[in-house]
């Protein structure tokens, strides 16, 4: 069983003797029939809503329509209203800033840990990996409740320790001010995201040819230039994918912000795009407007990830 598992797992798809499709050269309807269930499910649950959302964003769809009045077609009015609304731009700027800060911190800490992991003693490395695995495996809502408890105003450990260090943190409310709110959110998001980066980059580093590093060292390359010219090129493809995923994930962050808002943050001052869409649509019944914001968010995702995707495609072309 275990032999089978590793055999199957480690064989890349392209290793199959006669390419991916040894059976049937002439067109048969069977493969299409096999795709029907998956395609139908995806079309129904993702494709149709996407189309519906575009339509919705051109309509005046508020509470009156929710109670049966047919929606009016208002063209670009929703978008016009949003673009001229200062609040949307504040939320957007906040979201982009949050996304970039969190993605950068996660990448820096994750890559740093992965590099250091190669120099740790065996026991310590195992310890780190265990800790990271625990943090990674924690369900997002469970980890949010724990962090809220850690940052609790009255009985939280963080306040207790900071007060013990002689600082004035007794009864400090971490979620009250927006900046402090986002600090807590950043701690939680980075804590949850670092393990994935560290593990992935560490796995990539084990592929690094050791002779190459040694040769560079003999040639007199310092640690900095060894990293730039030997290590970095090897792990660049992995860094690009991981970085891309971090940007996507941190831009769409919802659960952490929503739950912290419910726990006492001011929603208006701390909304990011995800929670803004939710509060506008499901909370406030402004479905047309929130659909427009959602389309805007999808477009923003495409724009923010475009450079990464292009770099990845170029890399794909080189190999």
């Amino acid at each position: 069983m275990s032999r089978t598992l590793s055999d199957v797992e480690h064989r890349p798809v392209t290793d199959v003797p006669h390419g991916p499709a040894p059976r049937r050269t002439r067109t048969s309807p069977l493969p299409y029939a096999l795709l029907v269930p998956a395609v139908l499910a995806l079309a129904l649950a993702l494709g149709y809503p996407l189309v519906r959302q575009v339509v919705l964003s051109f309509q005046d769809f508020g509470l009156a329509q929710q109670f049966g009045r047919p929606p009016d077609w208002i063209g670009l009015d929703n978008y016009r209203e949003l673009v001229t609304d200062g609040y949307l731009w504040r939320v957007t700027a906040r979201s982009i800033a949050f996304c970039l800060v969190n993605a950068a911190l996660t990448m820096a800490i994750g890559v740093g840990l992965a590099l250091l992991m190669r120099h740790m003693s065996r026991g310590v490395r195992l310890l780190v990996q265990t800790g990271l695995l625990l943090a990674w495996a924690m369900p997002v809502v469970a980890s949010l409740t724990v962090w809220q408890w850690l940052f609790d105003t009255q009985y939280g450990v963080v306040n207790h320790v900071l007060t013990g260090l002689g600082l004035d943190y007794e009864g400090h409310g971490w979620l009250l001010r927006p900046l402090s709110f986002f600090f807590v959110a950043t701690v939680i998001v980075v804590w949850m995201s670092v393990p994935f980066v560290a593990f992935t980059v560490y796995a990539a580093l084990t592929q690094l040819p050791e002779e190459l590093v040694e040769a560079a060292e003999i040639d007199g390359a310092g640690a900095g230039s060894r990293f730039r010219h030997v290590v970095l090129p090897t792990i660049r493809p992995v860094l690009l994918v991981v970085g891309l995923l971090q940007v996507i994930w941190d831009l769409r962050v919802f659960t952490q912000i929503y739950i912290l808002q419910e726990a006492g943050g001011s929603a208006r001052d701390t909304n990011l795009l995800g929670t803004y869409i939710y509060r506008l649509g499901i909370g406030g019944g402004e479905f047309g407007m929130s659909a427009a914001v959602a389309i805007f968010m999808l477009a923003l995702t495409v724009v923010l990830t475009a450079p990464y995707v292009r770099a990845m495609l170029r890399q794909e072309g080189e190999t």
Binding site: S121, V124, V141, G274
Partner: protein, 279 residues
């Protein structure tokens, strides 16, 4: 890794390692620790660092509430249904993609990758409207529908690799020995795919069990909450929060995930780097 590490570098690395371990593991430890503590130990100016003299009262309280049992039931139904449907749909699709050559095959695979990039947060408004129109809000079927679509791309993508890893010659040999094609498939190929089905099934479990955003959107009624929703409404700013109870609930939700996670950890790393997973 044959090169010896300089002493100073090793000491620095080890120090950072220990700190990283503490930061990563402490919240998890604190969750378990607090779940054993009584109310007066939780609400004390000095924290109780080790749960000596703790008991299972918090767990008893959690299991004694109807809300928890309701949420557990909903979560189990949604998760089970999601895994079953997603595995079935993904499996036949994976067979099509890796065993046949046909027009549109590549575009299908590329589409799967693109779908992975779509943030749920950009779509839940219209998914809500759709389920509302279909009268599927607050139903297990409705939530399962959007969950299946969420895990399908990754599941197909991963199973594709597994199916392609079983040489077709094995099936042919079995047919030569007198098996019919379906027999060959069920007796030879399917058993070899078991590890792949387990790995992707576990992935589906973790996704559906943990998911919060869509559950919040679809399950608006209190008696239809999933476990993450139940847990998130446990905190109450106005009446003092029962942290012991919440930590017991969190531990109960986290334990199966952590166990399953350890089972598929290697696959998560390789699968995620192929860019094929939503967070």
């Amino acid at each position: 890794m044959s090169r010896p590490t300089p002493r100073a570098l090793r000491t620095t690395a080890n120090t950072v390692g220990v700190i990283a371990f503490l930061v990563a593991a402490f919240p998890v430890y604190w969750m378990v620790n607090s779940s054993f503590l009584a109310r007066n130990e939780i609400r004390s100016p000095t924290p109780t660092w080790v749960p000596f003299g703790g008991d299972l009262d918090n767990y008893r309280t959690v299991f004694g509430t109807d809300q928890f049992l309701d949420a557990l039931k909903v979560s189990l139904m949604v998760t089970g249904l999601t895994i079953a449907v997603a595995l079935l749909f993904a499996f036949v699709a994976a067979v099509a993609v890796s065993r046949f050559r046909f027009r549109g095959r590549l575009s299908f695979v590329v589409t799967l990758l693109v779908i992975q990039m779509i943030p749920v947060e950009g779509l839940f408004i219209s998914q809500y409207k759709m389920l509302e129109a279909m009268d599927l809000l607050n139903t297990v079927v409705g939530l399962t529908l959007v969950y299946v679509a969420g895990v399908l791309p990754f599941t197909i993508w991963t199973l594709r690799g597994f199916v392609a890893g079983v040489p077709y010659e094995l099936e042919e040999a079995a047919m030569m020995d007198g098996c019919s094609r379906p027999q060959a498939f069920f007796r030879v190929t399917l058993p070899l795919l078991a590890p792949g089905l387990v790995a992707t099934g576990v992935f589906g479990f973790i996704q559906a069990w943990n998911e919060f955003t869509l559950a919040l959107v679809v399950m608006t009624r209190e008696d239809q909450r999933t476990l993450p929703l139940w847990l998130s409404t446990f905190t109450d700013v106005n009446r003092g929060t029962d942290w012991g109870g919440i930590m017991a609930g969190s531990t109960l939700i986290a334990v199966p995930v952590i166990i399953f996670f350890l089972v598929v950890q290697g696959r998560m790393v390789s699968g995620l780097t192929s860019g094929a997973v939503k967070g």
